[in-house]
């Protein structure tokens, strides 16, 4: 395919990457924990969407109306537990890693390790595409980008305009002073974790639209998600979107021009370069940001 096509398709898929990464980035920036269970949330979101579509024939996209609130509650509950346990930062990485392993195994138990895919009949989005001249865009990628815009835009506005959003940014900047002005870190943490999990549900659904699922997929997302988080700047919502698109474009172009297997190498080099040159994120300073 032409490089332009690859770049544009990549940019659209970048929306999916953004949605996968945004929740992790913001919780990392505000709550200072790297919550690996986020990947389990995405996985669960994907599988739940899959199940709801195949069992009850719900339109796959609409499944988020169910999965998002469900995972919101799950995410908030988990955060509550973490808060109680008061785990140190590096240990939180280990703890959530353990939980991720448990979760993937549980998924494997319920849905088996075989590849699952939304049946074509129930999933019109996988087959349809939009054509613009010589460029073809699968509907699933357009949806991904669209959702990303909405979610990121909404998050950006919320972080700037609402009291809760400002509270989160203040909390990330200076915890004790924020608390002195009434910001309750426990409730804030739960709200944030819940929202992150809900965004993961959306990401999962979008993933399920265009890919086949297997429990081990959760680990395959690590590279992309961390690339987006670090390039976008930890806690920066708009930065994450830009980084998502960038990663998408890079992956697409490298895939088309060199080979799909060269992608991890390129991404990795990009991360290292970014850390060397601009550790706060390539796009830090733009947009509201949470950690700032």
């Amino acid at each position: 395919m032409s490089t332009l096509q690859a770049a544009l398709s990549g940019a659209l898929i970048g929306g999916l990457y953004t949605l996968m990464a945004a929740g992790l980035s913001v919780t990392w920036g505000v709550l200072r924990v790297i919550n690996l269970t986020h990947f389990a949330m995405i996985l669960l979101g994907a599988y739940l969407s899959f199940q709801l579509t195949t069992s009850w024939g719900i339109d796959p996209v609409l499944t988020v109306a169910i999965t998002a609130p469900l995972l919101f509650v799950l995410g908030a509950a988990l955060q509550w537990v973490f808060d109680r346990l008061a785990i140190a930062e590096l240990n939180s990485l280990l703890l959530t890693f353990g939980l991720l392993v448990i979760a993937t195994q549980a998924v494997s138990e319920i849905w088996t390790a075989n590849f699952q895919q939304l049946p074509a009949g129930a999933n019109p989005y996988a087959t349809r595409s939009l054509s613009l001249g010589r460029l073809v865009f699968p509907v699933s990628t357009l949806l991904a980008f669209g959702f990303a815009l909405v979610v990121v835009g909404g998050a950006h506005l919320a972080l700037r305009r609402t009291f809760a959003g400002r509270a989160m940014r203040a909390f990330a900047a200076d915890r004790p002073v924020a608390a002195a002005f009434g910001v309750d870190h426990r409730r804030l943490g739960m709200l944030l974790a819940g929202l992150a999990a809900a965004s993961a549900a959306v990401a999962g659904m979008l993933f399920a639209l265009a890919n086949s699922l297997t429990p081990a997929t959760a680990y395959e997302w690590f590279g992309i998600v961390f690339a987006v988080v670090i390039l976008g700047g930890v806690g920066q919502v708009v930065g994450t979107m830009l980084a998502g698109v960038l990663v998408g474009v890079l992956s697409g172009v490298v895939s088309a021009v060199l080979s799909p297997s060269a992608v991890p190498f390129v991404l990795f080099s990009a991360i290292v370069l970014a850390l060397l040159v601009r550790p706060q994120g390539l796009f830090a300073g733009l947009g509201a940001g949470a950690a700032g």
Partner: protein, 234 residues
């Protein structure tokens, strides 16, 4: 209105305050002076909810604040202007101010309060969209005070507002504090600049090595040389 009684405070194993007692009456301006390391900031943090290892009581209009969760302190009508300003650097001036009104009791009227703050500090209105970190020291101090006012406090705690500011700017800041007091807010002012503090305050406490050494009206303290000896050692 504020009554601190026999307050002890610790940082881990090190005790910072020993049996500190003071009062602030309704509408009063009270200052706390003393040498570095005397525990002035600890005292402010303890009253304002930023420090929790405490023993003793801190009563504000009947409620005991010592040891309650930090985020609940502001609900009782105490607001802090921390040492070094500690504005939220990456939030805009406007957002900083709105955050000040975060507590439930202050949210409803936050637009009116904001107007009042803008009237007091017109420069904040001019710079509403700028990130707080880009403001000068004096402007940040005004922002920090404005932020604290947004919570509609009954008692305003100020920790070394003159720190790092040019004299003219300090003038402005202290004038503003005077205005705030005249609007009915009680003030507890901790300061290194003894002269200015005594000029502004009705009463003063001298804190040294974590204990109250002397207390009295500003006139009394100005007349004695206890303060100079405490700070300079002679």
């Amino acid at each position: 209105m504020l009554e601190v009684g026999e307050l002890d405070a610790w940082y881990g194993q090190a005790q910072a305050l020993w049996g500190v007692s003071l009062t602030v009456g309704d509408g009063e301006v009270v200052c706390v002076v003393g040498p570095n390391g005397a525990g002035k900031t600890t005292l402010v943090h303890a009253i304002g909810g930023l420090h929790r290892q405490l023993r003793g009581h801190i009563r504000l209009g009947g409620a005991d604040l010592a040891g309650i969760a930090p985020h609940r302190v502001s609900e009782h009508g105490v607001s802090v202007v921390p040492e070094g300003r500690r504005v939220f650097a990456h939030l805009s001036v406007h957002e900083n101010l709105c955050l000040g009104a975060y507590r439930k009791g202050a949210r409803a009227a936050h637009r009116e309060t904001l107007a009042g703050v803008h009237e007091l500090f017109p420069r904040l209105a001019e710079r509403a969209r700028q990130p707080a970190g880009s403001l000068s020291g004096g402007e940040q101090q005004m922002l920090a005070i404005g932020r604290a006012l947004m919570a509609q406090p009954r008692l305003l705690l100020l920790d070394e507002p003159s720190l790092g500011l040019a004299p003219l700017v300090v003038d402005e800041v202290f004038d503003a504090i005077g205005v705030i007091n005249r609007r009915g807010v009680s003030i507890l002012l901790v300061e290194q600049d003894v002269e200015r503090a005594l000029d502004l305050a009705d009463r003063a406490y001298l804190l040294s090595e974590g204990r109250v050494v002397t207390a009295g009206t500003s006139a009394e303290l100005r007349a004695s040389d206890t303060i100079r000896r405490s700070v300079l050692g002679y």
